[in-house]
Structures are given as structure tokens and as C-alpha cells.
């Protein structure tokens, strides 16, 4: 299958929801074309509400629609909807436990040429700190479609983080997708996943575009006889503790990978679990506490050290640490 942006997958999912869920409505702050909600708008014009360039009002209006029994999808760029609408998400959506779905397209560096102001690199950290919020960052267009559909039946607030740039489709229709349940894509063993292999050396935990990079890194590592388990942690919150703790116990070392700041994002969320449940050496691969910049998304991923080779390097670093921990434990 050709590469495809996750926002396209979302757009398809929303369109399908239009058919299956009469209570689904959508709103946008003049970015429905970018967020692919325009496909829904064309098919269901009465169920689409344009609020203009007004993200705070959009979130509040979505809360009102939810108060009256609708399932609103409020769509904009990740940065604008989560940055400007934070107070509204906190009070009107999360505190009131409303069934509002926040959709942020253009998450991470994939905005590319538009540059730093539109590149959301902090929103996973901020949103996962809100009580009652669920945070999902799908890894490909198919998963984004399934996440959109699943979120409509998942009670309460959900944030969907989407990307602008085409990415390979690495999941299959036959894969299990469930909000809150991580998928082990390579190596590992989890009852029901149908994949079982002992002897993994390390686990790479990733979300979004970094899942594909994690798989590529795992292939490269295999050539050096290092077996990497790869976990697609599409749901950053609520976090799948069971799968993460099992990975820490079984592989003894973790690398996290996100197209997002390393300050409190996916890596932070994984560390919060493991440092208390089963501490192992860790490395965070992500954006190092800085803003983005303009450029081709592929060039930016290289410049910000988010490529498979960066994961390979982090893996080898953390494996050395694992060995030194093991050595000191024996002394």
C-alpha cells in the first residue's frame, strides 16, 4: 500500500462514523481541509459546524454539543487546538467528563515547511496530565482510521494526534486495535497477540511515525544479532502497564521513541510506570527540549535525530548500560 498520512485515515474514519453513528458531529476552526474533516462536511453538511478561527470557542461549543448528547469531533492543527484550547479542554471537556473528541492534525515535525509555530511538540505531555483525558497517537493511516472509529464508542474525552506527511501503512485490518492496549509488533510475547518469542534483548516503545522507525531499527539490530521487541504504544494514556512491565522484566532495557519533546511525553509516561514497577536502563529518543523549524519533514526527522539509525545508537547505548547494571548486580 502506498504511503499515506494519518490525517487521511482519520478523515476516512470520520466519514464512516457519519454513516454508522448518527450522533457524531464535527467542528473545525477553518482547517477542515487540512484535518480531512472536509470529507465529512461534504457528506453531512448539517452535522458539521464551522466556528471560524476560534479554537477556544470550538472546544466550548463541542462541550455544549456533547452536553446535548452528540459525539463531537473538534478538528484543527494539533498545536492550535491543544495550545489555545487548553483551559477549555480542562474545564469544559475533562472536568465535565464530556464525550468530546479533540483531533489534532499536523502533530510533530511533519508540518515541515510551515515551521516551528505550527509544529506541535509538547501536546502529549500537556494533554496526558489532564484528568479524564485519553491520548492516542496512531502510527499509520489504517490505525488512525480505526482509532477515530474506536474513539466514538470510547466514553469520555479523547485526543487523536495525527500527522500531515505520508507514512507507510504497517498495521493490518486483522490486527487487534483497542484504545488503551499496546500492540507488540515484533518479538515479545503477550497472550492473544499470536506472537511469541523469548530472548529479546531490548524493547523499543514508540508511537506515531516512530513506530515505523522502530521496526526499521529492529531489522538493523537483528543483523548485529540484537533482538529488539517493538511495542506500538498508540495509546499514551491510559497507558498499558501490563505490556510495558512485562517488556521491562523480559528484556531488561527500554528505548522510547516519539516525534515529540522528551520532556514528559511518551518516554516520560513509560518511565513513570517502570521506575516504580520494574526499573531498567532507559533511553528517550525524541526532540530535545527545543522548538521545531522549517524544512522537508524527512530532513527534519534527520536533523532532530529521530531516524532508525538514531534508535540503533540509543539501543546500543542502553544495552551497554544494561550490561553494566548486570555486572554491578553480580559484584
Amino acid at each position: 500500500m502506498a504511503d499515506k498520512p494519518t490525517r487521511d485515515g482519520f478523515g476516512e474514519g470520520l466519514l464512516e462514523l457519519g454513516k454508522t453513528h448518527p450522533n457524531v458531529v464535527a467542528l473545525s476552526g477553518d482547517l477542515e481541509d487540512s484535518a480531512r474533516a472536509i470529507w465529512f462536511k461534504k457528506q453531512y453538511p448539517d452535522r458539521f459546524f464551522s466556528v471560524g478561527i476560534a479554537e477556544q470557542d470550538m472546544i466550548g461549543t463541542a462541550a455544549g454539543l456533547a452536553l446535548a448528547g452528540k459525539i463531537p469531533f473538534a478538528c484543527s492543527f494539533s498545536q492550535f487546538v491543544t495550545g489555545k484550547g487548553l483551559e477549555q479542554m480542562r474545564l469544559a471537556v475533562c472536568y465535565q467528563k464530556l464525550n468530546v473528541k479533540i483531533v489534532g492534525s499536523h502533530g510533530g515535525l511533519s508540518v515541515g515547511a510551515d515551521g516551528a509555530t505550527a509544529e506541535a511538540l509538547e501536546e502529549l505531555t500537556v494533554l496526558r496530565s489532564l484528568p479524564n483525558m485519553t491520548v492516542v497517537a496512531p502510527c499509520d493511516a489504517l490505525e488512525a482510521k480505526r482509532a477515530a472509529i474506536a474513539s466514538a464508542d470510547y466514553p469520555g474525552p479523547v485526543y487523536l494526534r495525527l500527522g500531515r506527511s505520508p507514512v507507510p501503512v504497517i498495521t493490518k485490518e486483522t490486527d487487534l486495535f483497542q484504545i488503551g492496549r499496546a500492540n507488540v509488533l515484533r518479538g515479545g510475547a503477550r497472550p492473544g497477540d499470536g506472537i511469541g518469542r523469548a530472548g529479546d534483548d531490548i524493547t523499543i516503545v514508540a508511537c506515531g511515525v516512530m513506530v515505523h522507525h522502530a521496526l526499521l531499527a529492529a531489522e538493523a539490530l537483528a543483523k548485529d544479532d540484537i533482538q529488539a521487541r517493538v511495542i506500538n504504544l498508540h495509546t499514551v494514556k491510559p497507558i498499558d502497564r501490563q505490556t510495558l512491565i512485562a517488556a521491562a522484566k523480559e528484556t531488561g532495557a527500554i528505548v522510547t521513541a516519539e516525534e515529540h519533546t522528551v520532556v514528559g511525553g511518551l518516554g516520560g509516561a513509560v518511565a513513570e510506570v517502570l521506575v516504580q514497577a520494574h526499573p531498567v536502563p532507559m533511553r528517550f529518543v525524541g526532540v530535545e527540549d527545543r522548538f521545531g523549524t522549517s524544512g522537508d519533514p524527512a530532513d527534519l526527522l534527520k536533523a532532530f535525530h529521530l531516524m532508525p539509525q538514531d534508535l540503533v545508537k540509543a539501543t546500543k547505548d542502553v544495552l551497554r548500560l544494561k550490561q553494566s547494571w548486570a555486572a554491578s548486580a553480580q559484584r
Binding site: 462541550a63 452536553l67 467528563k97
Partner: protein, 279 residues
Amino acid sequence: MTPSHAPDVRALRALAVQLRQTILRTIANAGSGHPGGSLSMVELLIGLYWHALRHDPKRPDWPDRDLFLLSKGHGCPALYTVLAERGYFPKEELMTLRKYPTRLQGHPERQCVPGVEIAAGSLGQGLSMANGIAMADRLDKRARRIYCLMGDGEIQEGQVWEAAMTAHHHQLDAVCAIVDANQLQQNGPVKDIKDIEPLAEKWRAFGWHTIEIDGHSIEQVITAYDDARTVKGKPQVIIARTVKGKGVSFMELNPAWHGIAPKPEELQKALAELSAVTV
């Protein structure tokens, strides 16, 4: 349960006095709270809960009820008092205001007690929610009125004007905003902190049907709600000119009484002043 008979204005005026006394007792008992902005909105709530709202205290989740959204959440002692008076929950519970564990927080939680429709306390958010409800109701062909009460200081929040444009653009005539223009905000007169006048012209320019009244006149309040209901194709705003701290001489138009509770002797003085009012 909209009463079909003409309202007994004199009885409602007496009710206003009684509610003000309860509000002050409640805040004094809590030891903190916002008396000024609670006292200014009493007649506006009476006009709703004893006249304009289609509601049933025994069925707070009745799907076809009209909705009242309190956006200026700090005025919740007035709302709690009115809801208790109408029988939504026991009056004794008012004495738990702000005391752990209570359902009556210092700013309301959604459905904390029957009749409280939304959370509030971070200003400027109610009108957007009112719009969303009206949009959903239009899709569902449900005829409800949605009232949203804001403070005059509150409308300095930009979200209010985003929402004002949304309601106009989508012709949400089920939405009726009420501005409790009590002239003061926390640190002084609204005109000194950041002037919002000319209020009526502003709302008119945003495409709203605008009604300006004395917000302490029961007759004018009731007439305004009745008139607003007849407007088609446009949201309506009632600009209620009020007095912050209304009914208590030492609280009226004194910014110091925005967010403090009366001490026992101040409470007694305030209650006595209110009792002396001739309705």
C-alpha cells in the same frame, strides 16, 4: 412548568429579599465566597426560575427542560440558594458550601447537585457551551431555550466574543445571554480595569437582538425574558444594569465585597437592612 398566570411581582420582590438573606448567611457560614456578584443577580434568577424557565425540580434531567448555564461561576451561592428554594435539593445543604466534603464547591461542578447544568469558574466559557447545546437541539428538533448568565467583567474574555460571533453566524435563536452588568470586577470598576462600554452597541454590532433593562426590576426582567423568547433567527442578549452587592448599603458598589465573606456582626447588619426593605 411555566406558570400561565401573571406573576405576583410583590411576592417575588419579597422573595428577592429572602434569597439575599439566605445567600449572605450561606457565604458567612462558609467563611469565604463572593457576595457582591451573588447579590446582583438575584432578580435575574427569580425571573428565570419563577417565570421564564420550563423546568421541573422533581425531574432535573427532563430532556425537554430549558437550560440555565451559570457562566460567572463565582455567583453560585445565588444559584445554589435558588435551586434549594425551588426544591432541587434540601435547603440545609446550603450550609455545607465550600466545606469538605460537600457537593457545593466554591465554583460549581457539573451536576454537583440537581439543577446545576455546567461547571464554571474559569470565566468566559458558558456561552460557547450554550451555542453547542442549541446546535444539537436544532439537529434533534428539540425546542428548548438556553440561558447563559455572564458578568460584565467576564465579557472581557475573548472567548465570549468568539461565541457571540458563532451564535450570530449560526442564527441560534434558542440562545439568550444575560449580562449581569453590576459595574464592578475584582480590582475595581469595570470602566477602570478595562472598559467594555458601549455594551448594547457592541452586542448589536455582533448581530444580537439586544434588550437593556434595570436588572433589579422584577417587571422589567420578566418582560425581557418574554420579549427575548419571541425573537426569531437571532440570539438575544439581556443587558441587565445592576448594582454589585445590591441590598446591603456597605456592600453596594464596593469592590472590596467581590470575594470576602461578611463577619458575624456585618451579617447581622446586612440581614437587618434587608428586613427593613419595603416591597
